[in-house]
């Protein structure tokens, strides 16, 4: 692996940056890789568009921006509209499939894997863990980083006292992802 580029997009309040942060932390602290996280927010960030760019690589990272991501993790329709066209034709879109509908903005050839993350989060009792469900989904689907590293990063990044809930959310997403991939592999 030389370098993987990930773009995470959603609304402020959905935990977009934390999502990117956990991926980066897993890579750079627990998986001995290099990772760079760039956050983008406007002065008008509150409640509106929000995105994170994560680069994961085996060597030190120079240019830190993600132009055409290998992975797109998307949690709002606006973010889909804005970022879908940038996805590499060989890339993968991971998306909240009860909020977002795929259309022809997605480059031909790109994979799109959906998850009803909001519903899962609500089922877990806390709408807020939506982003951790997505983290798990990312881990399960991409296998880019070890499950162990990802779990450690989740544990080390969420507020004290919420570790268990978040790990459950992670696993929910992870398992859904692994299953989907399995299914995809079978049907694909």
């Amino acid at each position: 692996m030389a370098k993987s580029e990930i773009r995470v997009g959603g609304l402020g309040g959905q935990g977009v940056i934390l999502l990117g942060h956990i991926i980066g932390k897993a890579a750079s602290i627990y998986d001995s890789k290099h990772a760079t996280l760039i956050q983008a927010f406007g002065p008008e960030a509150r409640g509106s568009a929000c995105s994170a760019q994560v680069t994961v690589a085996d060597e030190a990272i120079g240019y830190p921006y993600v132009k055409s991501p290998d992975y797109l993790v998307i949690m709002s329709p606006d973010a889909y509209t804005q970022f879908a066209p940038q996805l590499k034709p060989t890339g993968t879109l991971l998306y909240e499939n009860e909020l977002i509908t795929i259309d022809d903005r997605l480059p031909a050839g790109a994979k799109a894997l959906g998850i009803p993350a909001t519903r899962f989060a609500e089922e877990l009792g806390r709408r807020l863990v939506l982003n951790i469900v997505m983290v798990g989904f990312f881990a399960g689907v991409t296998g880019l980083l070890s499950k162990d590293a990802m779990e450690k990063a989740v544990k080390g990044s969420v507020p004290k006292g919420t570790e268990e809930l978040n790990l459950r959310a992670f696993r929910k997403g992870y398992e859904y992802g692994v299953e989907l991939i399995g299914a995809a592999t079978v049907t694909g």
């Binding site: 996280l37 120079g62 240019y63």
Partner: protein, 385 residues
């Protein structure tokens, strides 16, 4: 001297540049920070506010940047290592106190996380357009030191250097980050306290009565005391003599201002810090600083693949400017390429240093994002012709 363990969060972290800069300051021994929030710098003081109670020290959010920039000078004369943190608009408000810090020779670190300007500009987006301001923004003649990190790790490492330089030369030291570096998260390794060298204040060993607050030796840097030590010092922003007393005449002015300037100019070669990559004998030398150096490095590597003999000179210390080194390289290089996130500031220094001996190709940028590596690559290719 080693770092005080209380302030050192030894270990491996995944934090952004703003947070790393705060950790660097704590490791360097900074124990008093006065600040005022401004994007994209606020996280530095937010972290300081949350860390300091158990480290031992004080953070105060002042009513504005003017107050912050002079509160730290008071803090320094009370004996603490001090810092304030801001971005362009706040920095513009601090200019009077840069001058006061210079003339009173008060060690302090001023963090400027640069954003798009002029004026309110682009608060959440990067620029490198305060380079000239930190050198020239206050009235009168003076010299300062400015560093420019390009990663969270450097935000930590160079911050310690920044404090050490401030204490060594008793001069305001600017820590010129930018929005990208400030908000970029990467792995940061914080060493053990005993592996961190910090420079203590240049305390006098003289007794009250023997000591003159502005008497300097050969290195032109006077020894310092702090309020409460019984020296009954006088410190003023007026032109003053060695006792610190106002001396309102051109002779005193010449003596004082010349020393203030020469204590930096005479040590220029000790202070400058450039990181070189294949510049010796290169046809094209790219000169850059801060976040732009990471983009430039990508372009340099691409150019090498295309067979260009290109080197990269990166300024870790922007001021004093490494004019001597650039002049040396101008003897052999055909051209210098100067990308920066402003409309041409550092390039003016490069031009003067090169002095017509090679071509100088600026790559200005109004800010708001970084350069496209391709833009720099193209300019290198053009320069290599």
């Amino acid at each position: 001297m080693h770092a005080d363990p209380k302030g050192v969060l030894t270990g491996i972290h995944f934090i952004d540049g703003d947070h790393a800069a705060c950790e660097g300051a704590l490791a360097a021994g900074c124990r008093f920070v006065a600040g005022y929030p401004i994007t994209p710098s606020t996280e530095v003081v937010e972290r300081f506010a949350s860390r300091i109670p158990l480290v031992g020290g004080v953070f105060i959010q002042m009513e504005d940047e003017i107050a912050s920039s002079i509160a730290i000078l008071g803090g320094a004369w009370a004996g603490k290592k001090v810092m304030t943190v801001t971005s362009g608009p706040g920095l513009s408000l601090m200019m009077e106190h840069i001058g006061l810090a210079v003339i009173t020779e008060t060690p302090c670190v001023i963090v400027d996380v640069q954003r798009g300007g002029p004026s309110t500009g682009l608060p959440t987006l990067p620029a490198q357009a305060d380079l000239m301001q930190v050198k020239w923004g206050s009235h009168g003649d003076y010299e300062i030191i400015a560093l420019s990190p390009n990663s969270p790790q450097e935000c930590f490492d160079l911050m310690i250097k920044a404090f050490n330089l401030a204490e060594t030369y008793r001069v305001p030291v600017f820590f010129m980050m930018d929005e990208v570096v400030g908000h970029m998260t990467e792995r940061v390794e914080i060493p053990a306290p005993e592996d961190i060298d910090v420079v203590d204040r240049k305390w006098t060993t003289k007794k009250p009565g023997e000591y003159n607050v502005y008497q300097a030796g050969a290195d032109l840097v006077p020894e310092m005391v702090k309020a409460g030590d019984g020296y009954r010092i006088h410190v003023t922003g007026l032109t003053h003599d060695e006792r610190g007393y106002p001396a309102m005449n051109p002779v005193a002015q010449d003596k004082l201002v010349r020393r203030l300037i020469n204590k930096i100019r005479d040590h220029r070669e000790d202070i400058v810090d450039v990181r070189e990559d294949g510049v010796e004998g290169a046809d094209v030398v790219v000169v850059s600083f801060g976040i732009t150096s990471r983009v430039a490095q990508a372009a340099v590597e691409q150019a090498r693949v295309r067979g260009v003999k290109v080197g990269h000179l990166r300024l870790v210390i922007c001021w004093p400017f490494p004019a001597t080194r650039i002049a040396q390289l101008a003897e052999t290089a055909k051209a210098f390429v100067v990308p920066e996130l402003n409309m041409g500031q550092m390039v003016l220094e490069v031009e003067r240093a090169v002095c017509g001996r090679a071509a100088v190709l600026p790559i200005g940028h109004a800010g708001g994002t970084v350069h496209e590596p391709a833009t720099i690559l193209n300019k290198i290719m053009e320069a290599a012709q």
